[in-house]
């Protein structure tokens, strides 16, 4: 057997606890192999426990560890970094905790906060920088610009007040899911070195979502006009831009393409 085949077989045995050990292996081999199997399972569940600490606190340790082990069976890691071990766990949580949809939303927030924590460093554009960057713009230029958001900025639709849940779990208080009156979004970004989040309404969420998807400022304004009417859209677009500059989620402006 080649080394490649031997390693593939060894890995298959690590991943599948029910798989019979290779012919010729003794009880001593089996005892040693059990240590590798146990290390694999326990270290990866522990890595997920570290990423999804609040989710574990919310659903309970036993339920979380069972869910994490279930996730790892269906999603064995393939990246060199432990940071990616829990990738996709919010989706698994959605399937496993069907009666508690807030669990998947909470898990998404934890994953996003971890990702933002080590996102690329950048100096966000502030109001002064934005004014300087747009000082020469003609009126038509505005519709053609695109806003590039800071690395680590992420957005996710939610139906529960996850910030309240987050705070209650962190304070070790009784955490009860509170359904939002209207759909909202969680916005995660990094403020300096610290990942932060806030709950935003659906209109702002759709606007930011369009920006993250590469839409220009003009397209975002058109979306607002469709949603809330022209007069309100003009005021809303300005207010949102001011808020994003204040939060520090805009990294730069892609200026309109030069015209001949």
């Amino acid at each position: 057997m080649t080394l490649a085949a031997q390693q593939a077989e060894f890995m298959a045995h690590v991943l599948d606890e029910d798989r019979a050990l290779p012919a010729g292996w003794t009880a001593r081999h089996a005892a040693g192999f059990d240590i590798y199997r146990n290390n694999y399972r326990s270290s990866l569940v522990e890595a997920m426990r570290s990423t999804y600490e609040r989710t574990a606190g919310y659903v309970g340790e036993d339920a979380f560890r069972q869910a994490a082990a279930h996730h790892l069976i269906g999603n064995p890691p393939n990246s060199w970094t432990l940071d990616r071990v829990g990738d996709g766990f919010p989706g698994t949580a959605r399937e496993l905790f069907t009666g508690d949809p807030e669990v998947a939303e909470l898990a998404w927030l934890e994953a996003a906060m971890h990702e933002a924590f080590v996102a690329a460093d950048t100096v966000p554009l502030d109001a002064q920088g934005f004014a300087a960057a747009t000082s020469g713009f003609a009126e038509d230029d505005w519709s053609a610009i695109a806003l590039r958001l800071t690395p680590g900025t992420m957005l996710h639709p939610v139906s529960h007040d996850i910030p309240a849940l987050w705070q209650a779990i962190g304070a070790d208080e009784d955490a009860q899911p509170l359904r939002l009156d209207a759909p909202g979004y969680l916005l995660v970004w990094r403020e300096g070195l610290k990942p932060v989040f806030r709950l935003i309404d659906e209109t702002e969420g759709l606007a930011l979502s369009a920006m993250l998807g590469g839409a220009g400022y003009g397209e975002m304004c058109a979306m607002l006009v469709d949603r809330i009417g022209e007069e309100a859209a003009i005021a809303q677009a300005g207010a949102l831009l001011g808020r994003w500059l204040h939060d520090g989620v805009i990294a730069s402006i892609n200026p309109p393409a030069a015209t001949e």
Binding site: Q6, G32, Y36, L44, W80, V118, L193
Partner: protein, 278 residues
């Protein structure tokens, strides 16, 4: 490939619980060692901490995910990121383990054992040459602790390691606890192992604790035991002045406790040096 000059010093692993001690105070160590992968990130606080600590003292990058024994070769993205980190931090050296962690499809995130065969030796050596060429520097590789031996083995672990160093020009990170653990688990003589290694290739020693049982497990969650201290005493006489580090990854005690263990290593190393001089 450039050579690595011996560094005569005593250090600790930088763990999150001690970040503030290293950033705000003067910790009496000669170097710190970090887990490379924890800092192979785009940005944020981990890189800020490492950069600030690096301004105070030398740093060693110690990896756990290179998978140098992987029959499928090395992960090029991993190598690129490690090179970027090494270029940024300018470490004393970059090290990893003699093991494999992944196949082409999956990553175990565990240090899995290699059969000691000619085929495995060729794979390991080719991968080391690739890693050293990409990084532009010679590396250190650590002897593993292991819980099973393969029926296919064609040579002893120390013979495999000696030949690996000879063929590739790499250096050795001698984990004395791993020798102690594997000697118990596989029934070989730890001193025979120590004496058979190419001592001139050793640049660093790891000291750690383990969990006892019918099969000893390398858990890094206990103080260094007496048997490992005795082996260290002998090792220092054989390899001369090289960097020594206390490695604790779990059940991490307050810093003074680790510094006391490091003090014990300093005393034994000084004693060994005295014996060499005599």
């Amino acid at each position: 490939m450039s050579s690595i000059t011996p560094f005569d010093g005593f250090g600790l692993g930088l763990r999150r619980t001690h970040y503030a001690d290293f950033l705000e105070g003067e910790v009496p160590v000669d170097f710190i060692e970090v887990i490379s992968e924890n800092f192979m990130v785009e940005g944020g606080n981990p890189l800020r901490v490492l950069t600030q600590v690096r301004e105070k003292m030398p740093v060693i990058l110690h990896g756990v995910s290179m998978s140098i024994g992987s029959a499928h070769g090395l992960d090029e993205d991993y190598l690129r990121r490690l090179k970027a980190l090494a270029d940024r931090i300018e470490p004393l050296w970059v090290s990893d383990h003699l093991c494999w962690t992944r196949t082409s499809a999956h990553n175990s995130h565990d240090l899995l054992p290699l059969p000691y065969t000619e085929e495995a030796l060729e794979v390991v050596c080719a991968n080391i040459m690739n890693a050293q060429d990409t990084l532009g520097r010679a590396m250190l590789f650590e002897n593993p602790s292991s819980y099973l031996a393969f029926p296919e083995d064609e040579m002893r672990e120390w013979e495999f390691i000696a030949e690996m160093a000879r063929r590739t020009g790499c250096y050795l990170l001698l984990d004395v606890n791993n020798i102690y653990v594997s000697a118990h688990n596989h029934g070989f003589d730890a001193r025979e192992y120590l004496r058979a290694l190419p001592h001139d290739r050793v640049r660093q020693i790891h000291l750690a604790g383990h969990t006892d049982g019918p099969i000893k497990i390398d858990t890094h969650d206990q103080p260094v035991c007496d048997g490992v201290w005795q082996l260290y005493d002998e090792a220092m006489e054989l390899v001369g002045p090289v960097a020594t580090m206390i490695e604790r990854d779990d059940g991490i005690p307050p810093l003074p406790e680790l510094l006391a263990e490091l003090g014990q290593a300093r005393e034994l190393a000084a004693s060994a040096r005295g014996r060499i001089a005599a």
